[in-house]
Symmetry: C2
Subunit: 315 residues, 2 copies
């Protein structure tokens, strides 16, 4: 895998005339850093590794560009335009036959098909498999933060919404993406974990109940920190200013990593998260006080109605 990647990458770097190369790996691939760095050093490049935590293409180590000609970011497709960054995908194969497990759960003759970036190369094969079983797939072209056909992110379900399907099949690990798709599309959602083969129908109801509890705890908070990320693809300062204007006790707080210790140290009674949307939904259990989504804060401030509750996405 890595030998192929680095061989193509070396050609690409030479074509660009890059000499000083910074490398960034997401957490799951970080252990490969030293190996890839050694291969590039042997090929004559000066190599710098980014050692900070990284969870997506929204979190580019652009600060390395002060001492490197180019940044190579592994494992994610770009979420925005970054001329000095090379994005190296890390495609992960699986046995297409596991799609068989979804057949008893699919009700219609057409299904919207979406997946995460490491499996998008298998979309055509998945379409062919389902077609052979009499199910036609609606796959939407990517765009914006999700450039690949059929790709969804935890902060962007555009490719799911654009299928227009009443039933959507998500192929990937974890339940956050399919729950987000369910809330964003109001479609019926089937999730298939391609590694374990587990297929299940997924609903957003349990998440909604948990969120309503968090909102009730935040009601009447005496101080509110509006979190703005300083990461390259998570900065929503205009949104934060608009939210801060809704409450006299709200203050904008910039953060790189949103972690429980810092939220505790700062001492606000509640926070509103405009950084990675998953932080509020997935990590509330780790946080010392309520961390609301922008839409939840709008509801508490009376500028949004309960029935227009929606999951937070980054446009």
């Amino acid at each position: 895998m890595w030998l192929n990647v680095t061989s193509d990458l070396i050609k690409n770097l030479k074509k660009k005339g890059a000499h000083r190369v910074a490398l960034q790996f997401p957490e799951g691939l970080k252990r490969q850093s030293a190996t890839v760095a050694a291969v590039l050093k042997d090929a004559g490049f000066e190599v710098i590794l980014s050692g900070d935590p990284c969870y997506g293409a929204c979190d580019l180590a652009l600060d390395t560009l002060t001492c490197a000609d180019v940044l190579v970011h592994f494992g994610h497709a770009p979420v925005d335009d970054q001329p000095e960054v090379i994005f190296e995908p890390y495609p992960m194969d699986f046995d297409i036959g596991v799609l068989e497990n979804t057949l008893p759960l699919l009700k219609g003759e057409t299904v919207g098909l979406v997946t995460t970036v490491q499996h998008v190369h298998l979309i055509p094969a998945m379409e062919r498999f389902l077609q052979s079983k009499g199910i036609s797939c609606s796959v939407a072209e990517g765009g914006g933060r999700t450039p690949e056909r059929g790709q969804v992110l935890g902060c962007s379900f555009t490719a799911a919404k654009a299928t227009g399907a009443e039933e959507i099949l998500f192929v990937g690990t974890g339940l956050f993406h399919p729950i987000g798709i369910a809330l964003a599309t109001r479609a019926r959602v089937i999730a298939l974990d391609p590694l374990t083969g587990t297929a299940q129908e997924v609903s957003g109801d349990a998440l909604l109940r948990r969120r309503f509890t968090v909102m009730e705890k935040a009601r009447g908070a005496k101080s509110v920190g509006i979190i703005v990320s300083t990461k390259s693809g998570q900065q929503r300062l205009d949104l934060a200013h608009r939210l801060a204007s809704l409450s006299p006790v709200a203050v904008i707080v910039t953060m790189r990593e949103v972690n429980p210790d810092e939220l505790l140290n700062l001492g606000f009674a509640c926070y509103v998260n405009t950084a990675c949307p998953r932080l509020a939904y997935d990590d509330q259990v780790r946080f010392p006080v309520p961390v609301l989504s922008p839409q939840e804060f709008e509801i508490l401030c009376g500028v949004r109605t309960w029935d227009t509750y929606t999951i937070d996405e980054i446009a």
Copy 2:
């Protein structure tokens, strides 16, 4: 305390014509953030708080300046030239009478006197007290990273060395500073904790023994990460390049926060720390593998002798 601070600060900000003001507090003062922010908001300023961890003026939230006219940094004196940053000291008083506890320990008639930034305003009173007991003080002018007279930092003992004294009195909490002074000056060092009144002679011997053990563990490491900080006042890229050139298995790694999880994820067998020097000396117990100082790595690489072992300072 804070009312005075903010009253002067408001005048200063108005004089500068600043409207959008970013505030940064070190960890120990962060709980004051919301209060100070509210006072400034009431005075008509647009306020943004930096919520990232902060341990010194080497760690300025300069990224806030993309959305603020000025950054106000509380609690530290500047370590470098930063025209868009206002440094607000946080002086902490103590009862000068506790110096009495050092008298039985002081052997000479002259003592070098140093302290940390929050107590530098008491240097003249300390000099008068010791003079009244027949001990004359040598206090060096600040400079470089320590602009205040008699000030030391965990990464700069210049004001201690410049006293030229054979006996040095450090007034402040913790033992890291006096141990560093002992190693940097080879003088006899007395440490006084001004809050508890505890006075003691401090030696660098135990630290040295621990460091030699860490060095032995690092010997022959198959891969070495040379850590470079991306914080404003901790970047030593030239040093890192020089250290990386000493070993074929060394790779430069940029990091914002040097924490055990990231060192483990990256998977190097040992690291060399060119960020805040204290990380190697103070935090080794938290790290999964040896983290060496630049000088320790030089000794292992054979380009420095054991008898020129010295504590790492940032020039």
